[in-house]
């Protein structure tokens, strides 16, 4: 058994969206999965790209893209190697 380390991910909730979300009319069902790689690995980023690559992009910047997808950000877990976004619908 290990003790939680300082690398423990951090959760942030977007209360503006999460508080009043009503999914009564949302059709759920099977998902579509898109995975886009821009480099073979996190340590193989091209020159000119910051060390944290896509993680350097602020959350707000993704909002516009997610609007086109019809999703809103409910919450975010940030960690050293991956940021996880929980989305509406």
């Amino acid at each position: 058994t290990f003790s939680p380390s300082q690398a423990t991910p951090h959760l942030t909730i977007n209360h503006d969206v999460a508080a009043d979300l009503d999914s009564s009319n949302a059709f759920e069902g099977p998902e579509k999965l898109l995975e886009v790689w821009f480099a073979p690995g996190p340590t193989s980023l091209p020159a000119g790209v910051p060390q944290n690559g896509l993680k350097a992009v602020p959350s707000d910047t993704w909002v516009g893209m997610l609007d086109m997808v019809n999703c809103k950000i409910l919450s975010v877990i940030t960690s050293e190697n991956v940021d996880s976004y929980l989305l509406s619908e």
Binding site: S5, T8, P9, H10, A26, V36, P46, Y85, L86, L87
Partner: protein, 421 residues
Amino acid sequence: SSMFVFPHKIILKTCGTTTLLLGLHRLLRIAAVDAGFPYHNTGSLDDIKAAATPYRVFYSRKNFLFPDKQQGPHRSWKQEVKYLDDMFEGGSAYMVGKMNGDHWYLYITSPGATHTPPRSPDEGKTTISPTRSKIPAGLVTPAEEVPQNVSDETLEILMTDLDPENAKQFYLSHASAVACEQVPLQAQEARKAAHDSLGGLSESCTSDGTTADEIFDVDDVDKGAGTATPMTDQAVLAESLTTEGHALGTVVSNNCGLSDVYPTSIYPDARIDAYMFAPCGFSANGVIPAPPGPDGAQSSFDEGNKSTNPSAHYFTVHVTPEPDCSFASFETNVPGGQKGRETADIIEHVVRIFRPGRFSVTLFETKGKGVNPYGSGMGIHDGANAESRQRLERIPGYRRMDRIVHDFDDYDLIFRFYERE
């Protein structure tokens, strides 16, 4: 729906009538403009067409259940493939599984795909995509430059026809009732007092057990809270624990067994973010840093592979419990075996949570000598792990109907399909 952002890749998994592919060009543009990834389809970032050149692209989905409800390019696989082909060069589309049953679709581009000159700006105009020239996927790093020790493994379980009893857990009414039982008595009493002060319209979260339908009345009561006695901190606590989506999501995650798929005894820094939708539906994301090594430093589950991708693991779960379209998905890139749980354990655990009538399991894993030496039991490199593979042939209560292997250039795809006995 969920999104995972790594330094080098992004994963976007969206449910229902979302228009995932309509966001693709914006995604590529963000990668170029905001993250500085190279682009090749125009001369300037100021050009609206500017979009980062991906190293590779995967797009996959289960067969369509309600195509008429879908929007944009998502009404058929043919339209989705056309959209992707218009966007990228060198893509390949596949269907895996029974054509007249549950099957699975995949679109994939290869690293190092042949680059052809982009179309002229006026060519290929479309009202759907703002992109006028194809993105030459695979140009950033040719395949021969891929580090040989990078491993990648993604397990996906897609389940339909969920057991109705198990599916009840993913209704807000049920989750609220469970939460009520778990809220501390002191908070329950404070909550009841606050409601009594509002005219006693609802007992809501009482220790003697309140039905989920009664709890829905809470919302009506609280609309008047501003004109009556303010709720105490304890009452607010009770309120949030029994109605707020994230709080209820955590309750559901703990009660259904999802939190134990990657238990904190083995994965101490794991963090789960779960949300219970109203009136039903559930989503959860998990982030799982690797356990610290002997010297206290963060190590990787991929240690045996000398992976250059430490501590970057996730899982995600989405549930639609309605009987006419019940569906649940589980996806993870936590490698099976090694220092963690075997893939067969994970699959059995997840299947027990939902008890689906049918489910498919797909495993994508990089091939090569250095990959997954301990074996997930799923792959075709697992000769030494016959026992684990046997377990996958005999998921308790299920009959394995299909096992299909696709041998791609640098990945193996294993698709299995099971039906309840």
